[in-house]
């Protein structure tokens, strides 16, 4: 399982590309975040299955004209700025941020939905969402 950002250009924003892809490949997708309007669409999904299965889905999506990028890191914490206060922890709806034993901040990237609430809540502005791999 890995996370991907899918960008729909304006021309095909109305096509049911995700549904088509799920039906054609039989691979399960989980939509984590979606922003679709008249102009364009950005959807973050996790694609289930091994690397090969994921590649099948990504290739098909690309063939249908959408831009697909794999997300490697989600939230990046600049440790030089961070004071390990914890203001980002309880606000995370996914429970992806916690303290280590030494009370440092740690982000579990596989849990992160990229909603950005922690980025906004950080008093030190040390968190950011990394765009793509």
């Amino acid at each position: 399982m890995n996370k991907y950002v899918i960008n729909f250009p304006q021309e095909i924003v109305e096509n049911p590309i995700l549904s088509e892809t799920i039906l054609e490949t039989g691979v399960l997708l989980n939509i984590l975040r979606a922003k679709v309007d008249y102009n364009e669409g950005t959807i973050v999904v996790s694609i289930m299955g091994d690397e090969e299965t994921q590649k099948k889905v990504v290739d098909l999506l690309r063939k249908k004209g959408v831009v697909v990028n794999k997300l490697k890191k989600s939230i990046v914490n600049e440790e030089e700025k961070c004071v390990s206060c914890g203001a980002c922890i309880a606000v995370c709806p996914a429970g992806a941020i916690s303290f280590t034993k030494d009370k440092d901040i740690v982000v579990e990237k596989e849990k992160c939905h990229r909603c950005g609430v922690c980025v906004e809540a950080c008093p030190r502005r040390s968190l950011s969402i990394q765009q793509f791999e």
């Binding site: 004071v83 390990s84 206060c85 914890g86 203001a87 980002c88 922890i89 309880a90 606000v91 995370c92 709806p93 429970g95 916690s98 303290f99 030494d102 009370k103 440092d104 609430v117 906004e120 809540a121 008093p123 030190r124 502005r125």
Partner: protein, 495 residues
């Protein structure tokens, strides 16, 4: 029984036994009498956002001289109403250009990190100070004195916060998700300075402390010092030039403003068994009230009373639901402060002082007296509300809007429970998109208010959501009134 002088003598001989506040409970539990004899000093620490902080700076005289009556540092205004080239830069003052992203707290961090800060000053000009404008850049080395002087620091404990309302709130207690989905809390619990000396036997005016990496002093009670309720705090002073950037960090609290993370540690002398017992306090002994910041009043309702132990566990039970809790103070840096202070003492660089005057134990906190009573929602709301039902025909709803000269109509079920709201604009849109059912065009997620709220809170809500009215519901969700922006404006104009 030990005296402070005896403890200092032990420090001089390199024999003083120093332990951290988080180590003391176990030591005491094992053998209270022995702990009181063996341990000389317990170090405490805290590192959190302390808004009531700032620094007095003296810039030196220019030629020709200027008597600054307004001065900005990196575009953040400092208070210049003291002598010609003195100013006080406060942590929460915002940059005129960058707003919430940069403020007085950040200026202090930049100064202490040795960065250049841009100074701009204005004056009216006098015979003795003819200059009217000054612009220069300064560093901490350039200024004559730089005194960190914080009027209210290191609260003994603090309320925790949650939010029962249906919108996300940005508060000085951090970001609070809607419907009580998180709890934020401040303070360091069992290692907090005043929690280790709650009777203020050893902390008062003149107590030497660790202040942001330098030796500073307690200058007495802090503002809003509230000892009777366990909300005591201290004012502190120290030389900014000796401090470390590690312990002074600018902060942005989204939707609220800027602040300053301050690192502070107090050594507690173990004079006798009573002090040993006090410093053996544990997180589970310190009670914290979780308040509802969804109610925008001075006295916020209590949601639950918990302990620091529960809060630090990361999970709190709120009405059967497990809610994540996280601190706003850094435990990591607080522990570092306790260790560093202990190191100073062990290296014979830091000696204890007895307070010249103890912190008062009987002051009370007064509130601001209102010039005139601020009305509540129930004083201005319309109680006889024109309503519709979701099964009503659109033509009937349109008629109601026209005949009553109103812009929106709340939609209720048979029992009078609010289901939605429909505006004249929704009806126009229905016409354009050929929709026939009220259910399909009404807004179902309605921004509601309660009758016990102040009008000011409602005014802010209307503005924030850019809406013209807010239905008033009771705790059962029954519609009991409506407040429109014109109701609010009428009140605001009167004021």
């Amino acid at each position: 029984m030990k005296t402070i002088e005896e403890i200092n003598e032990k420090i001089r001989r390199g024999e003083a036994v120093v332990v951290r506040a988080d180590e003391m409970p176990d030591i005491y539990e094992e053998n209270p009498k022995k702990a009181a004899v063996d341990v000389d000093i317990v170090t405490t620490g805290t590192f959190g956002m302390m808004c009531s902080s700032g620094a007095f700076l003296n810039f030196g005289h220019s030629d020709p001289p200027i008597k600054m009556n307004r001065v900005w540092l990196n575009d953040v205004e400092a208070y210049a109403g003291i002598a010609a080239v003195d100013a006080y830069i406060g942590a929460t003052q915002l940059s005129e250009e960058k707003g919430f992203e940069y403020g007085g707290g950040h200026v202090i961090e930049d100064l202490v990190s040795g960065k250049e800060v841009y100074l701009r000053a204005e004056a009216y000009g006098t015979d003795c100070y003819p200059r009217k404008k000054a612009e220069t850049s300064i560093t901490l080395k350039d200024v004559n004195q730089a005194m960190l002087f914080n009027p209210r620091n290191a609260y003994q404990r603090y309320n925790a916060a949650t939010n029962s309302s249906d919108t996300i709130l940005r508060t000085y207690m951090g970001t609070l998700l809607s419907n009580k989905r998180n709890v934020n809390f401040a303070g360091t619990g069992e290692i907090n300075p005043l929690s280790n000396d709650p009777e203020y036997r050893t902390i008062g005016f003149g107590t030497r402390i660790f202040l942001a990496g330098a030796q500073g002093y307690v200058t007495g009670e802090g503002t809003q010092h509230n000892p009777k309720t366990g909300f005591g705090n201290i004012s502190v002073k120290g030389n900014l030039k000796e401090m470390s950037e590690e312990y002074l960090k600018g902060a942005t609290v989204p939707g609220y403003g800027t602040s300053l993370f301050v690192g502070l540690g107090v050594p507690i002398p173990i004079l006798d068994e009573d002090m040993a017992r006090r410093t053996a306090v544990r997180n589970r002994d310190i009670h914290v009230r979780i308040l509802d910041y969804g109610v925008q009043r001075r006295d916020r309702p209590l949601v639950k009373e918990v302990t620091y132990e529960e809060l630090f566990s990361g999970k709190v039970d709120l009405g059967g639901k497990t809610v994540r809790s996280s601190p706003l103070s850094s435990m990591k840096i607080s522990v570092k402060i306790m260790k560093e202070l202990a190191g100073w003492i062990e290296d014979k660089k830091f000696f204890l002082t007895a307070p010249l005057e103890p912190l008062p134990k009987d002051t009370v906190v007064k509130v601001m007296k209102p010039r005139r009573d601020v009305p509540f929602v129930e004083d201005v709301m319309t109680k006889k509300v024109i309503t519709a039902q979701s099964t009503d025909a659109l033509s009937k709803v349109s008629e109601l809007i026209i005949s009553h000269g109103i812009d929106q109509i709340p939609v209720v079920d048979r029992e009078g429970r609010l289901e939605g709201i429909v505006t004249a604009w929704d009806l126009t849109k229905a016409l354009a998109t050929n929709k026939k059912k009220l259910q399909d065009i009404m807004t179902k997620k309605v921004i509601t208010s309660r009758k016990g709220e102040y009008i000011d809170a409602v005014a802010r809500r209307l503005g924030k959501h850019q809406i013209n009215s807010t239905p008033i519901v009771d705790s059962e969700g029954l519609l009991i009134g409506i407040v429109t922006s014109s109701d609010v404006n009428k009140y605001l104009e009167r004021r």
